[in-house]
């Protein structure tokens, strides 16, 4: 009952933020932009449509209203609330009613039919107390220096309804978090306690970007029945919470961090058991979240017109699917070392060329694993601004070296007015349908969008 009241309260707050932003829109600009006022209202209205070229059908028509409210007490204390009203006209990305089984009850979206929902995205108090910066409430915590793919940026889970095409700020799922930062040894120590047991939101079967690659979804041999058990999620708010620490320091020109996260990995592990019966074999799949220790660090520095950045991590407990029929549970547990090295070159005015190399190495590989022990992905980003940064063109290319598949994303955006931006681009997948990118080879799409700041 208490949980239900809390959820109602949270959603009422989200509704109030949306209504308040609409009222704020009717107030004079001078009032809204006043820096002396303790209140600040702003809102972003975004709409994006996508046309699936291979399937010759529109596959997305979404609209998002994201109001933000901030109230300040002095220079060091403020409370921030961000809500989101989301509607998707075709219901192809998250078809039907959402189960939200991956999401903790107090973080769930309020569904208004199949196509619309309301969510309290962020709601936190930020203050300074006893020399510490405290951020308490629902928030995003972002670690790492890499673009596009994530090694250290795993504190918050992600909504994969559009695979990795949605921008990370929109797809990252904020969590109720205790976040303390304090100066230590000339650096900054961040301590996180995350009681919110919310994990990656994976698209359901039938969704445009539902996973089908054997790299992430177990495949039953032909003629074998599958019994998918309900998702087992951690249920103790204290014992099953995540904790994290990050120490950052600027040292002789280097931005350095050391990170540690004790967490439930956000992808469920699909444990499998086979039952042989006279009527035929059945595979029972038990999806369950597993604990992991992540130890890692990051660095960046600039040398002339070259910026170097990188991340490295060690995961104690990675689980990889195996096709080995003799394996007891269908998964291999292994330690993992992974790193990303990025170089940004800006030798031409208003132009950025960025290349990254990701490598993941499983320390205890086994026969039949669906992935190679050493997995390599590269990215290239070329971006150029024109007309005082009102016009931006870019091409992002992600390539899996092992699978030979990839994704190319050319995009052009233009700032028509101070608060009005439009864009168009393509998301072009290629490669084998068993690959992480190739599984969406039929999902190439043309995207157009508009963003209005209120």
């Amino acid at each position: 009952m208490l949980r239900s009241y809390a959820r109602c309260g949270i959603l009422a707050l989200a509704g109030w933020l949306i209504a308040a932003s609409a009222l704020a829109e009717s107030t004079p600009d001078e009032t809204k932009s006043s820096q002396s006022s303790n209140h600040r209202f702003s809102a972003v209205l975004e709409s994006e449509a996508a046309y699936g070229m291979a399937r010759d059908r529109a596959n997305k028509m979404e609209m998002m209203v994201e109001p933000q409210w901030e109230y300040r007490w002095g220079d060091e204390t403020r409370i921030t609330g961000i809500a989101r009203l989301y509607t998707e006209g075709f219901d192809h990305l998250e078809p039907g009613r959402l189960s939200q089984g991956e999401v903790a009850p107090n973080s769930r979206r309020l569904q208004l039919g199949d196509r619309t929902d309301v969510e309290l995205r962020e709601f936190y108090l930020r203050t300074r107390l006893w020399g510490m910066h405290l951020t308490l409430g629902k928030q995003q915590v972002v670690w790492g220096k890499a673009d596009g793919l994530k090694l250290l940026d795993v504190v918050n889970p992600q909504n994969f309804r559009e695979f990795i095409l949605d921008n990370f700020d929109d797809s990252r799922i904020p969590l109720w978090t205790f976040n303390a930062e304090l100066p230590v040894g000339g650096g900054n120590l961040q301590v996180l306690w995350i009681p919110d047991r919310t994990y990656h939101r994976l698209p359901q079967a039938g969704g445009t970007f539902a996973f089908s690659s054997p790299l992430v979804v177990p495949q039953a041999p032909p003629g074998v029945g599958v019994n998918l058990r309900p998702l087992e999620r951690p249920n103790n708010i204290v014992m099953d919470s995540d904790i994290g620490m990050r120490f950052s320091k600027f040292w002789h020109g280097w931005d350095l961090t050391v990170n540690y996260l004790y967490h439930f990995a956000d992808f469920p592990v699909f444990f499998q058991s086979v039952l042989l019966a006279p009527g035929g074999a059945t595979v029972t799949v038990n999806p369950r979240y597993e604990r992991n220790h992540l130890i890692g660090g990051s660095f960046s520095n600039a040398f002339g017109n070259l910026t170097m950045r990188g991340e490295a991590i060690y995961n104690t407990d990675q689980f990889v699917l195996t096709m080995n029929r003799r394996d007891g549970d269908g998964v291999i547990k292994s330690g993992e070392i992974a790193y990303v090295l990025g170089l940004d070159w800006s030798g031409i005015q208003d132009t950025l060329l960025s290349v990254q190399l990701f490598q993941s190495w499983l320390l205890h590989p086994a026969d039949g694993m669906v992935r190679d022990a050493l997995d390599t992905t590269s990215t290239v980003l070329l971006r150029r601004h024109f007309l005082n940064e009102t016009l931006e063109t870019e091409v992002l290319w992600l390539q899996s070296v092992n699978q030979g598949d990839g994704l190319v994303r050319p995009k052009i955006s233009y700032e028509l007015r101070d608060n009005l931006k439009i864009w168009t681009g393509f998301d072009l997948f290629y490669g084998d349908r068993n690959g992480l990118f190739g599984q969406f080879d039929q999902n190439d799409r043309l995207v157009i969008g508009i963003e209005l700041g209120l």
Binding site: Q35, N167, D169, Q349, N388, E389
Partner: protein
């Protein structure tokens, strides 16, 4: 009475060569000495202000950004942080720079982009790139009303009056081709107030030698015994684009913690 007047004229006559030679000496003040005086001008150890950045394109379309800026000296090292407060689509963008006194040491710069929620290290050799859509370069933002002495050879051309203020006219030529390419200028001509040692106007030529932009520094007021420019405007002659920075609520000496000038402060925002 007459003899008194004669004596006075005689005295003035005798003194006048000294006075003229004094003016001449000042007129001939070396360009580099003028640059040193600009950089020696007190700009306060700590300053806090709101800056309105208004950008207007050739067609008259205006974009306005409200920002909060803090600057603090750590010895001779200058650190500046700028937080964007509005409009909503770029709100929370933040920029941090460490400007080192050593000529052979690259400055350090970071940019926080709210869409990625990540701080990005920026190459300091991009100093000729335009700062977030304005007509000011990253170098202009770092230096504010100061100058990079070591980047140019300085030559005093003469004297002119700007808005009723006597100014030295100084020509600055980048010391080498590499510096010219980095800064994006082949020549700069500055009008420097001979009393308060602040640039009141500057003209810039691009690396091909074409007129590029003109800077106007206006509303210079004495605040807490520090000469403070309240409006900087730049017009780009090639694009027709114009940027006006208007400074409000400028306060010197306010207590600002050292930790405000860190990468973590960029993330936390203002």
């Amino acid at each position: 009475m007459r003899s008194h007047m004669q004596n006075l004229f005689m005295a003035l006559f005798l003194l006048s060569p000294l006075a003229v030679s004094d003016v001449a000496a000042e007129s001939l003040l070396a360009g580099e000495e003028i640059a040193r005086r600009i950089n020696a001008r007190n700009e306060g150890e700590v300053v806090s202000r709101f800056i309105t950045m208004a950008m207007t394109d050739r067609s008259g379309t205006e974009r306005v950004r409200e920002t909060k800026s803090l600057r603090k000296y750590f010895g001779k090292e200058k650190r500046t942080i700028i937080f964007y407060l509005s409009p909503s689509n770029i709100k929370d963008t933040a920029f941090l720079t460490y400007d080192y006194p050593e000529a052979d040491r690259d400055d350090d710069q970071w940019l926080y982009l709210p869409a990625a929620r990540k701080v990005r290290r920026i190459s300091a050799s991009d100093r000729g790139d335009y700062f977030l859509g304005t007509d000011f370069t990253y170098e202009d933002i770092r230096k504010e009303t100061k100058v990079g002495i070591e980047d140019y050879s300085w030559k005093t051309l003469g004297e002119e009056t700007i808005d009723g203020h006597r100014c030295f006219v100084v020509e600055e030529i980048p010391v080498n081709e590499k510096t010219a390419q980095e800064l994006g200028y082949s020549k700069v001509q500055s009008w420097i107030d001979a009393e308060i040692w602040m640039v009141r106007q500057a003209k810039y030529w691009d690396v091909a030698g074409n007129p590029l932009k003109t800077l106007q520094v206006r509303e210079i007021k004495l605040l807490q015994d520090i000469w403070t420019a309240h409006q900087l405007s730049v017009e780009n002659h090639k694009t027709g684009h114009k940027t006006v920075f208007t400074f409000k609520n400028v306060t010197y000496g306010q207590s600002v913690k050292d930790e405000m000038f860190t990468e973590d402060a960029l993330r936390r925002g203002y």
